[in-house]
Symmetry: none
Subunit: 126 residues, 4 copies
Amino acid sequence: MLLKLNLESETPIYLQLRNSIIEGIASGQLKEGEALPSVRMMASDLGVNMHTVNKAYQLLKQAGFILIHRQKGVVVNPDGMPGLDDEYKESLNSGLRPFISEAICRGMGESEFLKMCQTIFKDIKQ
Amino acid sequence: MLLKLNLESETPIYLQLRNSIIEGIASGQLKEGEALPSVRMMASDLGVNMHTVNKAYQLLKQAGFILIHRQKGVVVNPDGMPGLDDEYKESLNSGLRPFISEAICRGMGESEFLKMCQTIFKDIKQ
Amino acid sequence: MLLKLNLESETPIYLQLRNSIIEGIASGQLKEGEALPSVRMMASDLGVNMHTVNKAYQLLKQAGFILIHRQKGVVVNPDGMPGLDDEYKESLNSGLRPFISEAICRGMGESEFLKMCQTIFKDIKQ
Amino acid sequence: MLLKLNLESETPIYLQLRNSIIEGIASGQLKEGEALPSVRMMASDLGVNMHTVNKAYQLLKQAGFILIHRQKGVVVNPDGMPGLDDEYKESLNSGLRPFISEAICRGMGESEFLKMCQTIFKDIKQ
DNA sequence: GTGGTCTAGACCACC
DNA sequence: GTGGTCTAGACCACA
């Protein structure tokens, strides 16, 4: 799996990394139980600091997307992904709200917005 | 118009402010041409620093949502909002992508996601 | 003579006023010895504060472009315009420098820049 | 590269700084990809506040002259300078107009004005 | 170490 | 009164 980082983006690298891995899982490129490169390996591959990769992994582990075994390394959680609890729905809601507000201001209709979402869905699932 | 800030959020205050004002415009609570409180006024109302409010205003000005007259103060852009240019669409796309990836991972179906968006649309427009 | 003000510009109104009057003289629309509206008159015509017009007039008077008689009112200096002293040349030089620097950075050639100046010359002189 | 500031000038420090850096790029003293001092470093060098330097950097970043990496610091945009779009030409035109008007009033001929521009061009490019 | 954010308080230009 | 500029000093996120 190829990870794309934009070192000049406003988004911190560790978040880009987190997002890329989640997108990899969503798209099926990373399957449950599949191994991920070690922290050092990925850091070296991407040319970023080890701490940066570690931070992304810790975020993913804490949310339940991956498991980190001291010896066996890092794997996509074989017991399934974290679910749709209320806390997540609430955070998703808060996260989307500013995007939708701005879209309305700029004159984007609801249907156009939904269409864009559908396009992204298709694009991720391929 | 009542603005709600969460001083303990990870989102910087000036961005929360920016988002709240955009939502206010989207919802129609703030109409084109309507005046906004002066930087000092709003800062005092919200209990934050003048410069924090100013930063939010500058962002909104730069994007074309508001006009800042040196003396007359701040008004919602009476000539209409910024439009749907490609640059914006691109940024919207990039911004939504991580949310959709995570939603897919967590087992949220496309229809459920779209429904949530529709709910937010309704909620903002009231 | 019709003065055009942009109340939303970054440039202070009194400077826009000063510049417009100078351009009027340069273009020949205002001739030496010709009368200008009184401070109150012009302020009322333009819908701006009296002090603002006064500030523009004071600037023009100090530089020698106009004369202000307590009774007779304001006239374009009938004894001719201020000349090309070294101080002015120096200030012109300093003022143009940033424009030329940026033009170079953005890839505008010297000839293209000079052409733009010539166009402005023609446009003012008509 | 040596920057000269005039703390008593009417031009705000952050603008002087912006102009100096642009002139540095135009003259070739600052090359594309070259690093600039950190905000704190430059502030300390110049004896001004960090925020003043930051404001200049933010202006330059927004216009596309430099890139700001959160950790690596500031560099002259290695992908080249911003181009000659219509918006810039318009602003250049508006910026030059008052200078040309005044030059005409003061009896400076078109050729003399163009000559001065050429001199500045040479002076910057060296 | 870097830039990002926030505060507190000051003076000035403009109208 | 408004926003614009500048200072001084603080804490945090990031790498």
